[in-house]
């Protein structure tokens, strides 16, 4: 019981911390959550984290909130999900409430601008690090299909500007087709 409560508290605080420091929304939050809940705490394995990210990405609503809900659900079922939502929502809620009155003063302050510029570089580095780690993990599997899919998905999204939802549906279809193909193949062999 006490352990459960501790787990929920950790989930709440981790989400709050991540949400309070993340500029740039869902795509930045996914790597941070992976680092916290998969690498540091070990409550979720790496593959599962990517599956949850895919679900969060293809569902309606803010990706960051969706990811938080999924991780919270995994860690502590419905109470975990609620605690995660609260943790994710409270920091932006407080910050916006405070700022809404006098944002023009803050926006024109040069020192705020310097800190923002430095933080932006830090955020870009964090995401770059995660992309590199994830790609290394994928390459280590020594299978050609995922590497081709990574390259193809990247070209579709970044170069050809295809919508992310379309790319997700396409990848899911490829996965489905390859499972059907594998099953037939095994059937032929036996």
């Amino acid at each position: 019981m006490d352990k459960d409560r501790h787990k929920l508290l950790t989930t709440f605080l981790a989400n709050m911390q991540i949400s309070a420091f993340t500029f740039g929304g869902g795509f930045v939050i996914i790597p941070l959550m992976r680092k916290k809940f998969a690498s540091d705490l070990g409550w979720i394995d790496e593959d599962e984290m990517l599956d949850l990210a895919a679900i969060a990405q293809s569902s309606p609503g803010p990706i960051a909130v969706n990811t938080a809900i999924l991780i919270g659900y995994k860690v502590g079922k419905i109470p975990g999900a609620l605690v995660s939502i609260l943790g994710t929502v409270i920091p932006p809620f407080l910050i916006i409430s405070l700022i809404s009155g006098f944002y023009s003063i803050i926006r024109s302050n040069p020192y705020v601008g310097y800190v923002m510029a430095g933080t932006a570089a830090g955020v870009a580095a964090v995401v770059a690090d995660v992309v590199v780690s994830m790609t290394i993990d994928l390459v280590k599997q020594k299978r050609i299909q995922p590497i081709i899919m990574l390259a193809a998905a990247f070209i579709l999204i970044a170069v050809l500007d295809v919508s992310i939802v379309a790319v997700i549906i396409l990848s899911a279809l490829v996965g489905y087709a390859s499972s059907v193909w594998n099953r037939r193949h095994q059937h032929d062999l036996s």
């Binding site: 309070a20 941070l32 932006a120 590199v132 997700i168």
Partner: protein, 185 residues
């Protein structure tokens, strides 16, 4: 009843914004300016700037801001709830389905092929982030900011080699940004 109107408007925003914050922007604009005239276009543009300047999901930020403008703190709470409720229900259903059936070969195969796709998505999102960090705008236009490039490179190396935490990285980067800005002036 203003609270119900806010709740309903932001439930629609939450329900129809698939693909994250940037998909929500036109929906918020539609609800707050065209359907309800809660905001002027200038106020809406300001909200977008604030949302980019502050941490947190852009949808939550704008829901909070619109809610406060229209009906104070209770309005902000109602608007935030509105954009979370639909997706919370859908995501929890999907989570249940995922944990219930992920043992199946077909489901595993589908998710196996989604994983590279997720990496590609994050990598694609990284391009505009790098551009914004190093050039202060989109599409790598303008001049390269040398201090930002140094901070980016140092932070990346520190993350790879010394495994320092992401939040520590951001705080340290922000501090160096301030130092660089003050020194250059």
């Amino acid at each position: 009843m203003i609270y119900l109107e806010l709740l309903w408007s932001f439930m629609q925003v939450g329900l129809f914004s698939i693909g994250g914050g940037y998909a929500a922007i036109p929906l918020i604009q539609h609800q707050a300016i065209e359907v309800h005239s809660w905001l002027t276009m200038q106020e809406f543009a300001d909200i977008m700037t604030i949302s980019e300047m502050t941490p947190g999901p852009i949808t939550i930020n704008s829901a909070t801001f619109v809610g406060i403008r229209v009906a104070g703190i209770p309005g902000a709470i109602v608007a935030t709830l509105g954009c979370i409720i639909p997706s919370a229900i859908i995501v929890l259903l999907l989570a249940y389905v995922y944990y219930h059936w992920r043992g199946l070969d077909t489901v595993q195969s589908i998710f196996r092929s989604l994983r590279p796709c997720v990496i590609a998505m994050i990598a694609s999102a990284e391009i505009p982030l790098i551009s914004l960090a190093l050039y202060g705008g989109e599409d790598f236009a303008g001049t390269l900011r040398i201090p930002s490039l140094i901070i980016f490179t140092a932070a990346f190396l520190a993350l790879r080699l010394f495994r320092i935490g992401p939040i520590a990285t951001m705080v340290i980067s922000g501090t160096f940004g301030l130092i660089a800005g003050v020194c250059i002036l």
